[in-house]
Amino acid sequence: MKLSFRKIYKELRRLDKLQEKRHPMFEKNKFAKFLIYFMFFYYAALLIFMGVVLPAGLDGSMASFHVLDSGFFYILFADFWARFLLQQTPAQQIKPLAVLPLKRKTVLDVYLIRAGLTWGNLFMFFFLVPFAFMSIFPYYGWTGTLGWLFGWWLLLVADSYWYLFCRALIIKNMLWIILPIVVDVAIILATILPEKNILGDFFTDWLEQFIFWNPLAYLIPIVLIIILYFANRKLQAEIAYNEVAKTEEKEMKHASEFKALNRFGIMGEYLKLEIRMRTRNKNVRMGFLVGIGLIVMFSIAVSFSDVYDGAFMQNFICLYNYLILGIMTLQSIMAFEGNYIDGLMSRHESIYDLLRAKYLFNLAMLILPFILMIPTIVAGKISLLMNLGYMFMVAGLIFPGLFQMAVYNSETMPLNTKMTSKTNNWVQQIVSLAVLFVPILLTQLCEVFLGDVWGYVVLIILGSIGIATYPIWLRNIYRRFMERRHKNMEGFRASRATN
């Protein structure tokens, strides 16, 4: 019996709902559930608030919707980047369906159409609807308001397809991340660099035509949607095939032996494992390179720009320069190891050795921001003492805090197949909030009570104590990890099965 497109559409929708409902981590994790709803309502309320307040703030020589329309792309940019956290690509979704007797293109069409029609595309309407009622409705009534919102919906659908296209390219090769960045920067520059904002004026005129239901105005997003739909269809099919058939990565061109690490014995082997994990797995590599990229960006920003010359900003950037890579990699410590946790757990004390290697690796990585900050130190913008203070604090005080996650993380993160979101447990949530605020609070307290010089000296001393005692606190973490091992392994196994 041949299934109609409508039936396939309905059936796949039902399967996805079941998958969501029965996700083992989601089922278990009440806090995650609460947090998801809380975040949804929080951001929705924030957007509604902005939608109500902004029209009054923007009213000047131009009507507020004109101002918004001239910079409409900022909203689309925000919408685009937020999708990385939430939206899966069809290529990822069709993978488990590849062996079913359904045409791959049909399944792809289902997911692409759903990506266009999903309620998620309307999230920005929490902002746009109140904005339209405050700024358009009084002048153009229902017709104008609905026409403007309809135009925006088309723009958001086009943005969704643009995201899916970029995401698919990034799955192929992460360097494609440059594409949306270049496009965003180019549009921003084209509106701010010329003396007369021709592009901004065009945007204002174009989006204003939505109010009058001008078909030509809608034609632009509709054409974009069609082009991006078919571009996605081709690209996503290729990616899906590659993921299913595992056509990539058949043979390695070069496999370094890292012989220099042999002198460290067993620790050297675990260090090699850390390096290979970061270089040979797409998801780990991506996170690692983004972290390195941010460090380079922060360093350049502080060294060569006057924008961050304020004392607080310099402190802030300098501190997070040392912290960022640790936050990015240690928050989910052990989550990638969840893929082969049974093997590790079958070896005597291998987790302890692994944790030691991870700590040493992260210590070594702190040298990178230090080197990159040298020009700033030489230029006298920030002091050597401050740099050392932050570096030691991160190594000896913050890392021990982040390493606590090794005890509580119990969800496997896929090494290569793409994931979009993970349901963090409550400890992860608290730790991620804490590492964002505690370090800056700590440094500020030290500076306020002890002054610049002594504040940093104290941080260096405390950090040194943390570094020197690392075998002790790591042993404690290991002991607690072992106490929770069965619970964690159960979580790793369950989440591995759903990746």
């Binding site: 990565e249 043979e251 496999a255 082969y340 093997g343 757990m345 079958s346 005597h348 090494l415 196994r493």
Partner: protein, 243 residues
């Protein structure tokens, strides 16, 4: 090394996966574990390896290690892992390493020298049939059969006194199945290790295991002494292979 299972019980919800009052796997035994799907074979292996928590009871290893008498409850101590090797499934493999790198990693963390490792791998050259080592392929790019070979060889690198293999014949071609049978019997004869394997292949199991435990709904219902393949008929009757 003797493995003592005492009052061992593991439940998943309402289902009792393993329920063994008392069972001893004697030192030097080569035990085949057979049973239908869902009988509890893999769960029992995971309990022995302390990879899951028993609801009740304990697994104790008793014997001698490096000249010293030892008695270890696997859930309470960890040093028994030094004399135990296992391969249960892919979650034992670090799949972003090449087989050579993986073997070297396992060897180093198990205190096996490069020379010993080379010697060890030389023994398995025929079993690997030129498709595992020196390939510059990551483990995740290998076929299921070759992954299986990597897992089995890695489990044996440290010359364990206790060797646990779940479905070692799975995914292997006939000549590799034959090879692994020979490898296991030779290893058993040479080292006197306690070996426990599970398999759905009754012929292979009865070929190499002098003792067979038949598992049903988590309970060992028969403990069969298999002399000259005498168990094969009994097992065939149980599994209703010959109508």
């Amino acid at each position: 090394m003797e493995i003592r299972l005492r009052n061992l019980k593991k439940c998943f919800g309402e289902k009792v996966a393993v329920n063994i009052d008392s069972y001893d796997i004697h030192s030097g035994d080569m035990l085949g574990l057979v049973g239908n799907n869902g009988a509890g074979k893999s769960t029992l292996f995971r309990l022995i390896m302390d990879l899951i928590k028993a609801n009740e009871g304990e697994v104790i290893m008793v014997g001698e290690f490096q000249g010293q008498p030892v008695e270890r409850n696997v859930a309470e101590q960890e040093d028994w892992k030094q004399w135990t090797g296992a391969f249960i499934d892919d979650s034992f493999l670090i799949d972003y390493l090449t087989p050579d790198e993986y073997f070297k990693f396992i060897a180093k963390i198990s205190g096996v020298s490069d020379e010993q490792l080379e010697e060890h791998l030389a023994k398995y050259e025929h079993f690997m049939s030129g498709e595992v080592c020196g390939q510059k392929k990551l483990i995740r790019s290998l076929s299921a059969g070759n992954k299986q070979k990597v897992g089995i060889i890695a489990a044996m690198i440290q010359q364990p006194q206790v060797l646990i293999l779940d479905e070692p014949f799975n995914f292997l071609d006939p000549s590799s199945q034959h090879a692994i049978k020979r490898i296991l019997t030779t290893y058993h004869e040479e080292t006197g290790a306690t070996i426990v394997i599970s398999s759905h292949n009754l012929t292979h199991t009865t070929d190499i295991c002098p003792r067979i435990a038949l598992l049903e709904n988590g309970v060992i219902i028969r403990d069969i002494q298999n002399e000259d393949n005498s168990a094969e008929k009994e097992l065939e009757e149980y599994f209703e292979i010959n109508d």
